[in-house]
Symmetry: D3
Subunit: 252 residues, 6 copies
Amino acid sequence: MVNKDEIVNFLDEYLDINSFPDKSRNGLQVEGKEEVEKIAFAIDACMDTFIKARAFDADMLIVHHGLIWGGIEYVRGLVQKRLKFLLENELNLYAAHLPLDLHPEVGNNVQLLKLLGLEPKEPFGSYNGLSIGYTSEFDEPKPLPLVAQILVEKLKTDYVKAYEFGVEEIKRVAVVSGRGGFTIPEAIEKGVDLFITGEFLHDDYHTAKEGRLSVIAAGHYASETLGVKALMPVLREKFRVKTVFIDNPTGL
Amino acid sequence: MVNKDEIVNFLDEYLDINSFPDKSRNGLQVEGKEEVEKIAFAIDACMDTFIKARAFDADMLIVHHGLIWGGIEYVRGLVQKRLKFLLENELNLYAAHLPLDLHPEVGNNVQLLKLLGLEPKEPFGSYNGLSIGYTSEFDEPKPLPLVAQILVEKLKTDYVKAYEFGVEEIKRVAVVSGRGGFTIPEAIEKGVDLFITGEFLHDDYHTAKEGRLSVIAAGHYASETLGVKALMPVLREKFRVKTVFIDNPTGL
Amino acid sequence: MVNKDEIVNFLDEYLDINSFPDKSRNGLQVEGKEEVEKIAFAIDACMDTFIKARAFDADMLIVHHGLIWGGIEYVRGLVQKRLKFLLENELNLYAAHLPLDLHPEVGNNVQLLKLLGLEPKEPFGSYNGLSIGYTSEFDEPKPLPLVAQILVEKLKTDYVKAYEFGVEEIKRVAVVSGRGGFTIPEAIEKGVDLFITGEFLHDDYHTAKEGRLSVIAAGHYASETLGVKALMPVLREKFRVKTVFIDNPTGL
Amino acid sequence: MVNKDEIVNFLDEYLDINSFPDKSRNGLQVEGKEEVEKIAFAIDACMDTFIKARAFDADMLIVHHGLIWGGIEYVRGLVQKRLKFLLENELNLYAAHLPLDLHPEVGNNVQLLKLLGLEPKEPFGSYNGLSIGYTSEFDEPKPLPLVAQILVEKLKTDYVKAYEFGVEEIKRVAVVSGRGGFTIPEAIEKGVDLFITGEFLHDDYHTAKEGRLSVIAAGHYASETLGVKALMPVLREKFRVKTVFIDNPTGL
Amino acid sequence: MVNKDEIVNFLDEYLDINSFPDKSRNGLQVEGKEEVEKIAFAIDACMDTFIKARAFDADMLIVHHGLIWGGIEYVRGLVQKRLKFLLENELNLYAAHLPLDLHPEVGNNVQLLKLLGLEPKEPFGSYNGLSIGYTSEFDEPKPLPLVAQILVEKLKTDYVKAYEFGVEEIKRVAVVSGRGGFTIPEAIEKGVDLFITGEFLHDDYHTAKEGRLSVIAAGHYASETLGVKALMPVLREKFRVKTVFIDNPTGL
Amino acid sequence: MVNKDEIVNFLDEYLDINSFPDKSRNGLQVEGKEEVEKIAFAIDACMDTFIKARAFDADMLIVHHGLIWGGIEYVRGLVQKRLKFLLENELNLYAAHLPLDLHPEVGNNVQLLKLLGLEPKEPFGSYNGLSIGYTSEFDEPKPLPLVAQILVEKLKTDYVKAYEFGVEEIKRVAVVSGRGGFTIPEAIEKGVDLFITGEFLHDDYHTAKEGRLSVIAAGHYASETLGVKALMPVLREKFRVKTVFIDNPTGL
């Protein structure tokens, strides 16, 4: 049993929660039980996730997409239902959005690179003056289908889609998990061969194609499971708490 | 028993809740029970008030100062405690700030004038391009102490303080309940004899004095009890609900 | 042969091009030949489209997604290539984004409804204080798979995906073409049964699901082909010009 | 006799006048005589104060609340009267608002702590990203009435009001002079036992009470006399000028 | 003798002083004597003008360029000297900037057209969403040198410079007094033959030349003497006051 | 022959192009030929300049006033004509506005001082928090007409106008090329004897006069020819390219 404040203080510091401009209100969004024995991890704060967290007897839930973006103006409808459930069950809700994308150890983007056997090389992906992704480089160039195949296997998802717009052999890679298409012009300018992200939108299609930049869309959900999963052993070792991952895929 | 949405829709329209720029999120701030039999009325959304509302078996609480100003960024500490209480007890919370100051029938300012036997004459008190108070005029000029005495008796408060900075006999009056001192320059410019408000702040003292404008501070709390009280019979008649006023004075 | 200004003036007025706040610079974005004999229509301003327009001997190209959003800061890279091609070939480029989404006759959303045999009922889909979509209602409720099947056939696309989150029989429908997910909370609040849009994003999945709102994603590209296509006969009849539709699907 | 620029330059630097975001235009607000022999000190820039300063033959007046906040848009009414008096009498007016609240030696907040025999411990009271107050700690815990009594005696004011909302014995104290109630949530979060300020407003009552934070309101005027008074010997010693304090209490 | 408020109220209404977004604080900028017998008129609020106004025993000075733009942050240096002079001499200062450019009777632009025997035809010259100038048309086209010659004679200035960039015979004219070059693109778009303004800047030279728009620069000072001069008889007739024009040319 | 990117990268760094807040989009505004053999230099981006640059067989044009300020919203009219010409002739356009005013070696202001035999002493001329000019000092005071005469001779322009408002013998000088009048209050406050700029506007006349600050207006065009001219030998030496200066004076 650990006091919730100890975990929150550790995470706030470990993830450097107050250093990044983010619409997500990062940190402890909803306060619950004082003592924490079991922590659930998930991607999205929603009723399905909350119900499973309670079924697992979790005292705290750590998510990538929290409940509060900007500020809650009215506690009505879905917001009321979700808050009521959390407060009645005294389930602590901790959210980490950008801090869990760009973290140099457990961040979604570093973890995505690791799936491909790569190390982060340079910060990439400017968002509000912040680099939220990374570039990297294969020692041996690889064909696009092979890179895609590795992701299918490691992410255990059949969502992965590959768009071959550039060179046949991929050497330089840039990664921005989730919906990272807004950084495609930067990838083109920096001469990257392949851009890996979660969702690939219509708007970005022709830019990538004309810029001869190949793209892999690995799924918004799938590409963002890595960060919270990497956080699990960190908290287990630090606090001797029990952990559980709640899989709640959207197929998107 | 009335469905809460009927009451909310009526109040939204009756108080014209969406027409005024206000930091308060006016309207149903926290959703509770579907069916409403008893409504409590109070000035401030706080634990003391909530606990009394529950003790009275209220299904809805209508206040002048709600819980949400701007937006809730974190459900922690006091905010968590208050929201948890409301949601666990399924107590609907409805807030009306500026709409209940300026309303032509039940508004705090019109009601303050009525205590003095006056009718609103002209809109007064510009706030974000909105007039939130009124001016009025005595048929017979009255000395300041007499006006103060009437307020002491009618408001049943000994907070009332009178500052005699101008003429001996008061004819023209301007009223802005709560903390209305920011409209003192307007009162001076318009040649008013007496400005009535709730709290009178240090900052406004010399402006009023040099502008030869007498001031009565009737108490922030006391001056804002009138609006919600005037709303009580309106809802009783309209919906046949029971009502109760929760007195929770701050002495300020 | 028609002078380009006549066509531009007609379109500016017909589409009410200057009345909507839009990041797209709507209207004649790039000035080309004075005289126009043939007009090409497409969804996206990109090299593939430009090259085909020239191959068809078009003098003007009308698109939904133009070249200029906000303003061009540097004429370099892709922007230079695209502008150079247009200017060297004196191809007029006319763009209409929001004005072609919300137009009551040729707009993407009205046209989407027509595919389903429906008429627009009420404005829907608030965007910068503007309604860009519509609601409608089936005379006879229809099961979701049937609605999806009609869209597959009429749009001639196998992209269409249906998410059954609510009632079995669909009666009330709301439509926002392209990436319309930001209006899902409005659809839930208004009690709509089915929301039809182009792209459906991860972020909106749980909101729709918990709000019991079924969703059809018909493809960003496919859902936005309808507006420009509906504009073709209008210009043919008005100006006796030749027209051609350039199909350049992204599969997104 | 000292040149006014020498005094102004010294004060600008000593009070670090240009480093803080403040609505007050800090520094020499109104230029008067070149040579300065006697300096008057007061809290508020108003006619009463100006007339007394002239009666004392002062060449410069240093105040906490100046004439110019933002900017003067029209020299009419009270503003005209005040400016006319200053300019005709060539009375230099120097204002220091936030710089005189937070100064580590002569600031209102440090001086308030000194009355209680305390030293500033940590910066406190975030205002536009600036800490304007301090926390401190009694070696021996003291009951609230005793702390209030010391302030009554040292400040020579009977305004002082104490609100006992928390522990009986006060150890940790936070101080923000004037109207400092906006920092009450910060005081609660930091576990302070007593918050000392000038004016205590209705709005902050329930927050303090539920947060179990005791409050002393020492008077806006009284709590802000300390800074300018502490500045007097500094200028006497530095420039051999004569000084006089103008007491012009508002009772608020 | 007229009370100053009567004149101010008349001017505020006649010039519609509060209807235009202007950096100039239009209206009575500095309050002086209560009673007004003589009014001086000038272009610029400066010491030269003030001294002459006093020499003429004026009680009020009406100018096109006042003392206050935005707001006065410090009464020091030139600002102090000017304000001190006005306040010590109790000289009322009234300013009208944009309201005196665009006024349909006495405005600088209408008056400039009248010098050429022209009537205003359409509003022209968009500035913050406001039209501050006018277009007009000669019945008989005139060569540029002839138009320039008329202005030299009527304005009694040898500043006038003509730039022949377009057609030889001028028919359509647009006028924006002072520094109006920012409206040159609008003049080109509207197919005007000649643009008349006060100062013509380097920045606008090539735009006018490539747009084949001839330009006459009549002098900033000279082009803005017309409005205040036209106001003189209006006030003489209305209030039976004496008037005097103070000529203080800058040669610019 | 040099690759254009090498020159652009060198200039971006040498002029520190991305460090200054500027409405001008500094850097390579329009991309042209890959290989550069001859570079033209001019003040203004306009058709006259472009046509001459092509006549000189230039591959790149470097200007002080570029084509893009903020962003291009529509490629129509003059903008279309200019862009079309540049793109069809593959003429690279490089613009440097503030970076070429304030550069410590080739900047317009340092170069203006050098004409007078002076070295920059202190940064001067605050613009968006940036110092864009310099002050300097003559070893031997000089009469104003002599300083003006030197500029006439060295700049080979008869535009130069001198306004003697202050001391007879000039010692301290401040320089801001182009339209620098907005820094005149700063020059007065800093006790400068002479302010040298390009254009001197009506608005600044009385401020300079009352502040006893003499002014020399050397012509906007003339005062800004120095920077690009000083850049010519730098690029010749660095890249062995040919250079040509295109003189296109506006007389303003």
